[in-house]
């Protein structure tokens, strides 16, 4: 068969659709150019008006495909050209290629126009971006074109084929996120979606669609008459896939939520005191069966802040104008001993506005009748480093009935007796630790604290926590001790890394990187936003990590680190202030959601408190 006349016929046949599509994609850029010229900036189209062609391009490519097929494959015409000695595959290939080239040229037109006019007027130089955008949309359009082409060969009704084709193409674009159907986290290990994967998906499925359309045209596959069945089947598949897809992206289920207001500002952490949970220094949170209730906190708790803050007004220190720092910050450590609630804290006094430490005390208090009474004070001021040697470290943690504290350059160990009094047990100098090396192939050396009053596991835990997360030392740990193996976990922008403690001696712990669970494409999509996972800790074999707009939970005890669930919010007006794990594994998460002005003109921070289902 002579190709010339066939090609000519194909081009002439497509003429009107091509012109119409060209008009549609060029309308906005032309308009912008005219308006720019009108306003005296020169005749050029910038980025703004390319928005419409970008969205419309894949849709129009599909339309050209459908119009192209329908012109020769509607019932009577199909018979007409099949009754001639024309090779079906050659004919369809020519058809496909001509349509494709035309579609891609049309789609490129507005970009080329914008590029050329920008070059001439010499404004908005964005060459690299320009080429990336054009390449990406050519690819997506190629996909929609091929899929619609195939759909119309099968369906032979333009509108329906177009709808089905678009739906199918959309599905292919989200396929990488859905593919590992059977298990929601395998994606983390086997498929880190990159542009290469997308490239292969678009080109692969386009080629497949093309091959299938040749076969379908050759064998005259034709979904006759009405397509109710097909549509229902398609809808069912889409629904099913969407549900599967939603498992990948769905947030952890919310069991309950409640709105709160506070005049205390943004910084709103939880406090766990004994077995009770307090929020923001004001409210007591109670949860049962996933429901949340908020009460006014007891008076002693509300005044506790003022107690610590006002302490420096004591005559002896206020005269010297000393400033008080408390460890832990804001609130003390609480422990119930023989039915009586005690509070413990490390108080450091320094010259106001200077890093010059004067006094250090370990103190304990008794909670009685909604008030706090001092029980004992242990003066540990001699641990503070001299002014020349500025090596000062401060930390405190209560382990069983022992207090382990870093004061200055010493590691203290103190016992808490049954009446809440503190007795010093021993004192060892702290090892100055090195800068941590980042090379994952080498063994990491971490200084071990020297005290015999607690068991070695807790010593290691304290050392590791202090090395990596000194600011969260009071309650949080990044160490998981299970079946006599000690591992710790670090969360970075790229992955969750697992390190194993190999051995230890009197001075150092030796650790090695073991494995990592990289974040997937979807999990990394928002890296540009304020979604870094700043805080993370291990509780009951699970790693909880959260940033301002994202919370993730991982199972770390299994062979491979698995994601159990996440909570993520893609808006600015949303900041996770704190979270806490409840006894039943459910989570409480506090989120600040903005400001609210009352009628009296006072601004209140608004919070939403969520109870999230235990991710398993």
């Amino acid at each position: 068969m002579k190709l010339g006349p066939v090609i000519h016929q194909q081009i002439v046949q497509l003429k009107w659709h091509v012109l119409a599509c060209l008009g549609l994609v060029m309308a906005m850029p032309l308009e912008e150019a005219v308006m720019n010229a009108w306003q005296g900036e020169g005749f050029y189209a910038g980025r703004l008006s390319l928005f419409i062609p970008i969205i419309a391009a894949p849709l129009l490519a599909g339309l050209i495909a459908c119009a192209n097929v329908q012109a020769d494959l509607d019932d009577k015409r199909y018979l007409f050209w099949r009754s001639r000695p024309a090779g079906v595959k050659t004919f369809m290939s020519i058809k496909f290629l001509i349509g494709m080239v035309t579609a891609l040229i049309i789609i490129a037109c507005p970009f080329v126009f914008a590029f050329v006019t920008c070059q001439i007027v010499q404004t908005e130089k964005n060459e690299r971006e320009f080429f990336v955008v054009i390449a990406v949309f050519q690819l997506i359009s190629l996909l929609t074109y091929s899929v619609c082409f195939f759909c119309n060969v099968l369906i032979r009704k333009t509108a329906r084929a177009w709808l089905v084709g678009m739906a199918a193409a959309c599905l292919m674009m989200v396929l990488p996120f859905i593919l590992p159907f059977h298990f929601k986290d395998i994606v983390g290990d086997v498929l880190v979606v990159t542009s290469a994967v997308y490239l292969s998906i678009t080109i692969g499925s386009s080629a497949l669609a093309f091959a299938l359309s040749l076969v379908a045209a050759d064998r005259n596959w034709h979904l006759h008459t009405n397509l109710k069945g097909l549509l229902w089947a398609g809808a069912a598949i889409v629904f099913l896939l969407a549900m599967l897809f939603s498992r990948q992206v769905a947030n952890i289920k919310v069991l309950d939520e409640i709105k709160l207001e506070s005049g205390w500002g943004w910084d709103a952490p939880f406090y766990r005191i004994d077995d009770r949970l307090y929020f923001h220094g004001r409210q007591e949170i109670q949860t049962s069966d996933g429901r949340i209730k908020v009460f006014e906190a007891a008076d002693w708790f509300k005044t506790e802040r003022s107690w610590t803050v006002n302490d420096h007004n004591r005559p002896d220190h206020s005269e010297q104008k000393l400033e008080l720092r408390t460890y832990p910050a804001l609130h003390a450590i609480y422990r119930r001993i023989n039915g009586q609630l005690y509070a413990f804290a490390l108080h450091i006094y320094s010259k106001r506005g200077m890093i010059e430490y004067k006094h250090a005390y370990l103190r304990s208090f008794k909670v009685l009748n909604d008030e706090l009474f001092p029980v004992s004070t242990l003066d540990v001021s001699e641990c503070l480093a001299s002014e020349e040697d500025s090596f000062n470290r401060f930390a405190i943690r209560l382990i069983d009935d022992k207090i382990i504290a870093f004061v200055g350059n010493q590691c203290l160990s103190a016992a808490v007796n049954e009446s809440g009094e503190i007795e010093l047990l021993d004192r060892e100098p702290l090892t100055r630790y090195h800068i941590l090396q980042k090379d994952r192939n080498r063994i990491i050396q971490i200084p071990l604290i020297k005290t015999d009053t607690i068991d070695f596991q807790e010593r290691i835990r304290f050392a590791l926590d202090y090395t990596y997360k000194p600011s969260w030392i009071v309650g949080d740990s990044i160490v998981d001790i299970h079946n006599n193996t000690i591992r710790y976990y670090l969360v970075s922008d790229q992955d969750v890394a697992r390190y194993e403690v190999l051995r230890w001696d009197d001075d150092y712990i030796y650790c090695r990187f073991q494995s990592a669970r990289p974040f997937t494409f979807l999990e990394q999509l928002d890296r540009g936003r304020s979604l870094r996972l700043e805080r993370y800790f291990i509780r009951n074999g699970k790693l909880y990590a959260h940033g301002m707009q994202k919370l993730m939970v991982f199972d770390v005890r299994s062979e491979r680190i698995r994601k159990l669930g996440h909570w993520e919010r893609l808006t600015d007006n949303f900041g996770i202030t704190d979270m806490e794990v409840l006894e039943d594994g459910n989570l409480v998460m506090a989120v600040s959601t903005g400001w609210h002005q009352h009628t009296d003109g006072v601004h209140y921070a608004t919070f939403t408190m969520y109870v999230l289902k235990n991710p398993e």
Binding site: C21, I52, L163, A242
Partner: protein
């Protein structure tokens, strides 16, 4: 007689209602379940996608389908004025779309019950975007009413979308607020508001009623005058 015309259109377009309704409710369920966005934003996303997709599905083959099947000949030889035929099609589609929107609005009200966004906001957004969808649909009809092929009506539909985009863009850049009020896309200025201020709302309603009436008139006139299909 008109009832019978409505019956026929209803039967022919029933699949669209069921299809769009199911897909929309499923989409709403999905977004409200995964909670990637705040509920108020979910509401706008759902309503917006719906505003663009549902009228396209309805407008694609409502006229061109009958013309390419040649069943329009049967309709035209009945002793019924053509405007009645037009309105039977138009009204059934508007009714179908309203039901789809009602289903979406209801499902959002249920899914978002006692959550972040007030139910009123979600329902209001569905309503506003629904009205715009009807206006867009009418313009689609006005331009697609004489196309003989479905591809032609698709081109017309895109043409309307982009045409309004051009007017919207122009009215924004050149600061012509009255023109901007007439474009269906001006609805974006009204999203996220539970109760828009009365004055601006009234001007919006007036301009949209004018736009809708004009669209109906153009569509009906073009349908009555359709000649080349014969």
């Amino acid at each position: 007689m008109f009832r019978q015309l409505l019956w026929k259109e209803w039967r022919e377009n029933l699949w669209k209602l069921v299809f769009c309704g199911t897909v929309r409710v499923a989409f709403a369920a999905l977004l409200f379940r995964i909670r990637l966005f705040p509920d108020a934003a979910n509401g706008v996303i759902i309503s917006f996608v719906q505003m663009l997709v549902v009228p396209v599905v309805y407008a694609l083959d409502i006229f061109s389908g009958e013309m390419s099947n040649r069943t329009i000949h049967l309709l035209f030889k009945f002793p019924v004025p053509r405007w009645k035929i037009f309105f039977s099609k138009y009204l059934v589609c508007v009714l179908g779309m309203s039901l789809v929107f009602a289903a979406t609005g209801l499902s959002m009200a249920i899914f978002g019950h006692e959550r972040e966004a007030p139910t009123g906001l979600l329902v209001n957004n569905t309503l506003l975007f629904g009205v715009v969808a009807v206006i867009l649909f009418t313009w689609f009809c006005a331009f697609a009413v004489q196309s003989r092929s479905e591809a032609g009506s698709l081109v017309a539909v895109f043409g309307v979308m982009i045409g309004w985009g051009i007017i919207f863009f122009w009215s924004l850049v050149c600061e012509v607020p009255w023109a901007n009020h007439f474009t269906p896309y001006s609805i974006f200025f009204w999203a996220f508001r539970e109760v828009p201020e009365w004055f601006r709302l009234s001007s919006l309603i007036t301009s949209h009623i004018i736009a809708l009436t004009a669209a109906i008139a153009v569509a009906c006139y073009r349908f009555v005058k359709v000649r080349r299909v014969l």
